[in-house]
Amino acid sequence: MNMNESISRAADNSDETVMSAQEPEAETRREDIKVEEGKTVGVPYADDPKFKLRNVEVFYGEDRAIKDISLDIARNEVISFIGPSGCGKSTFLRCLNRMNDSIDICRVKGQLMLDDEDIYHSKKDVVELRARVGMVFQKPNPFPKSIYDNVAYGPRIHGLANRKSDLDEIVENSLRKAGLWDEVKDRLDATATGMSGGQQQRLCIARAIAVSPEVILMDEPCSALDPIATAKVEELISEMSETYTIVIVTHSMQQAARVSHRTAYFHLGHLVEVNETTKVFTSPEHELTESYITGRFG
């Protein structure tokens, strides 16, 4: 066999075999991949979970945005929710501290437990819930006040500090944990809106930490930040996971891969797969997860 012949064989071979290899593939169109309702592949449950969520459904009027999702979120874990726009990941996140309450047409069904307490119990104190389950949003939203007052706001209204020195301590600690202290310690009285976007977002994280929450929800916390600010926030997430349970919604799959222990993939209101992040990004179990993370749709 001469070399050229052999090369063309390899090339021919690949053509012909590519055809035969994709025959079955061509048959399964993506629209045809069915998600069985309420059936999640992977490891959706955990021992002694922080959140125990069972058969959760969310309606916007007649529209069923979340379809029978059951999931445990473990203590001190970082779990990320990924999925295409409109898949329900943010809606689901907002159930965890009842941020959906402000939407009139929104109804939540199912069992949502935080440390064995029903989040949606009619007598549940929502303010207390949100102190325990803090939130950081996509766009940094500091109050138009000083840096100090932004962080001190929560502890003040929750009565966490009786003396000025206590409050000072909380502010400093929170800013330190958010990795912002060294940058702002000399200008605590400066207005927060004058900070850079990345600093503002870390300030919002400091503000969330200040009331000593147990859980921090993050809804695309880095999508408005530049790469360096993003790296800082991600660094922070890794550090915070020692103290807090963190749930993060992100459009950046690389971010999910970097920061989270488990990754949950949402699709059209279904929770398709929950798995160790390493598994999701190297060999996901569900075909839809694979298609999404490899950039075949989304």
């Binding site: 090369i7 390899a10 690949s14 593939e25 490899t294």
Partner: protein, 240 residues
């Protein structure tokens, strides 16, 4: 939506990404064909006492080396540009590993060509060439099938190659014993027989590399690493 023309790596939103992965696959198969031919021609040169062909094989190794570097670069660029995940990631990582195997196969071919020249110059009656031909054909078909398994993403076939490796080892042992007998018969045979022994050793290594490629194919298709695991384990993985 995937059309008939696309394969499993060909239905990304980014067409450029499709093209890049396709290119990587095609180039790898091209390099595979190249080293296959190198081994084939090296054996030919040896058993036919064809010094000219042996020289050609030795020169041909440069092309193989260049190809290795080109494919590595392409794979590096894909990682840098696309941050591939899941099966795309497995393809790129496997290709990076498998080109190293192919390059080593190329080196073995070069080595065989070197001994072909040496044995040709010494010009004595062929000893052990039957074994060379036999084992050569065997490992060449393994290499061929491994590349085929890659092209077809056929983990079953890859598994068969993994099992085949044991038989090559047995054949190698048997051939070694035969050559030892020749050497004991007449000590003047020793130098010559040692050269043939090195050729057999090189061929046996080709079989090992084919086996490595097969293991990578299973990783690409099934997402599980079956290196350094018993064949029974690999069987379970492929059966899933």
């Amino acid at each position: 939506m995937p059309t008939k023309k696309d394969d499993v790596y060909g239905d990304h939103i980014s067409h450029k990404f499709n093209d890049e992965l396709m290119e990587l696959k095609t180039e790898f198969l091209k390099m595979g064909g190249m080293v296959e031919a190198q081994v084939d021609r090296a054996i030919q040169a040896l058993v036919d006492n064809d010094g000219h062909l042996a020289d050609e094989v030795r020169a041909g190794d440069k092309k193989v080396d260049q190809m290795e570097m080109d494919i590595d670069e392409e794979a590096t660029l894909i990682i840098a540009r696309r941050q591939p995940t899941a099966r795309d990631l497995r393809l790129v990582i496997s290709v990076i590993k498998m080109v190293a195997d192919l390059e080593r196969v190329g080196d073995e071919a070069k080595k065989i060509a070197k001994f072909a020249i040496k044995l040709n110059e010494e010009g004595q009656a062929p000893r052990g060439y039957v074994e060379v031909r036999h084992i050569g054909n065997h490992v060449l078909s393994m290499l061929h099938d491994a590349l085929d398994a890659f092209a077809r993403l056929d983990s079953q076939q890859a598994l068969r190659i993994m099992k085949e490796d044991k038989r090559v080892d047995e054949e190698y042992q048997a051939a070694t014993r035969t050559l030892l007998t020749f050497m004991m018969e007449d000590t003047r045979n020793i130098s010559r027989c040692m050269s043939v022994m090195w050729v057999l050793r090189a061929l046996e290594r080709v079989g090992d590399h084919a086996c490595n490629i097969a293991e990578n194919v299973i990783f690409m298709v099934k997402g599980e690493d079956v290196r350094h695991t018993p064949v029974e384990e690999a069987e379970k993985v492929v059966g899933r």
